[in-house]
Symmetry: C2
Subunit: 332 residues, 2 copies
């Protein structure tokens, strides 16, 4: 049925180990032998059995990427770029969705599946600092995002605080003084929402503007719908605001929709800035000013980091922070 090393060896008149050597580019094979084997490989359409190779060698050339939800544009684009970066290094990517569910994230870290891949890129949302010990697993692991679980684990993160501060300063520089937030997570400190709020407050402090809790629009999920609802709630509360800093682009688009539906002009009455620089803000109406948090570089560096750790588990843990930039469009 399917050809094995033995079948190729029989056809080429060599031992199966010699075929293995040819397949693996072992140098000490006579050119004539190599050619004979290669012809036999071609004739039989031989392809190595990756399960057997993986069993024997302990490597699968596959990594897992665990994200909360692939339908969120940020994670779709991240996954796209991770897959490309992995492919350049000969790796395939298996994608797991955790649905920002703490239990699912824990299950994932303990899964037998994890031992089938060489490494894991993990973008946790539901885990918290007390779960730090759980990320000390056998499989090479690179954490994406901000939650610093343990200094001994590789991290590739965006500069949440600094980037959020820059976004806020962008609004301040345009004369906005009453800046609402969409997407806050009350009480959270180390997650994206907590860190971005910290950057927001730092910018206000530096500008001498008092923090007003009524300007916070909480949104547990960061979908468009929740962004619209948070904006509606802000409007309904009667609080005065001339700008919105949404903690991601999806929220921003939802919020912008609600603002316009309520008769507010963007950016004239309310300026809106998002976060993530996903494709969907490029052609929205109006187009969305946003923070580019370096997603592409995160994907590239994360794959690089996990490859390095797979190659040598002993190296010092990396903690990479990529650069960010403001992408100005019509909404501010």
């Amino acid at each position: 049925m399917v050809a094995t090393l033995h079948d190729v060896a029989r056809l080429a008149g060599v031992s199966f180990k010699t075929v293995s050597n040819v397949v693996n580019d072992y140098p000490h094979v006579r050119p004539s032998t190599r050619q004979r084997v290669q012809e036999a490989i071609a004739e039989l359409g031989y392809q190595p059995n990756l399960s057997a190779r993986s069993l024997r060698s302990g490597r699968s050339d596959a990594i897992s990427l665990a994200v909360p939800e692939l339908r969120l544009p940020y994670f779709a684009e991240l996954a796209d770029e991770v897959i490309r970066a992995a492919e350049r290094r000969g790796l395939v990517v298996l994608i797991e969705q955790t649905n920002r569910d703490r239990q699912r994230e824990l299950d994932l870290l303990g899964s037998a599946r994890l031992r089938m891949v060489d490494g894991l890129l993990f973008s946790p949302l539901g885990l918290s600092a007390e779960d730090a010990s759980l990320v000390e697993i056998d499989t090479p692991l690179v954490l994406l995002g901000e939650r610093i679980f343990h200094p001994s684990v590789d991290h590739v993160t965006m500069q949440n605080v600094a980037a959020a501060r820059a976004a806020t300063e962008h609004l301040l520089a345009r004369g906005r003084r009453r800046i609402a937030v969409v997407g806050s997570h009350p009480g959270e400190v180390i997650g994206s929402a907590g860190l971005r709020l910290q950057g927001y407050r730092a910018a206000l402090d530096a500008a001498g503007i008092p923090f007003d809790e009524r300007l916070l629009g909480p949104a547990e999920l960061w979908h468009r719908r929740e962004g619209a609802e948070a904006a509606q709630a802000l409007i309904a509360s009667g609080v005065d605001f001339d700008a919105v800093f949404a903690f991601n682009d999806t929220l921003a688009l939802g919020a912008m929709h609600a603002l316009i539906a309520a008769g507010r002009r963007v950016p004239d009455d309310v300026a809106v800035i998002g976060f993530d620089n996903t494709d969907d803000g490029m052609f929205s109406q109006p187009t969305l000013t946003t923070v580019d948090p370096g997603r592409r570089e995160i994907a590239e560096r994360a794959v690089e980091a996990v490859v390095q750790r797979i190659a040598d588990r002993g190296i010092a843990p990396q903690h990479v922070e990529v650069g960010y930039s403001i992408v100005q469009r019509e909404s501010t």
Copy 2:
């Protein structure tokens, strides 16, 4: 280091095969033995080596999903739903991006990686009818989309022609008579663009409206940018139109952006309908009327089909067509 069946067996005082029997729920194990083994498993934190299992049993409980580009919302949402459907059946999903490149699609079908998974869900774009024979591969395969390669291969498709006709009729029912198309692929017949154009023409014919080639806005890629460019080209050409049927939502959003930038009101001057019912049309400005082609059901039925074919390669090929519906919003 990592526990194996042998380690567990030694601790429990049984043969390693008995441990295997416990792990695989083989019925004839004495309850007391079973418990002893389970305790040993728990104590050692034993987890089966999936490579070894896969080598021996020939099954990996993983499937591949091959899509053109994950950053396109349609495919991101499809992947999301495929992963969920697969997970319900105990399968993990490995994602490959083909970038709508014919060579990459061919490589994928011949890849050794393919033999590491139990099945493949494949959404081809670059392949054409002449590649039909290539999809006759050993790995269970389900084709997504419209290109019918070979009647012997499982297909799960949307009703492109009928749904596109319904979209066009939706515009006609609102009194639109000059309906432009965005996203056509000149000369194509069996792809999504060709089939949707066929539905468009059928609706025009039935309404007694002559087909006007000048109303076709070609767009090779179906991204927002190409949608905007196609709409700009239509406007620049000076052709009169009061509606746009974009062949997917991403194109529609780009086109809508260009229309509004050019001073046309949507839907007053130009009605816009998309195709796919992706999340990003729900909160656009204005919100986007679109065709829901049954993406969720496609994911579910496709996973179901591949599971069935994995279980029994002899069954008759399935050819599933899922239902569609019009989702009316503000843009028409």
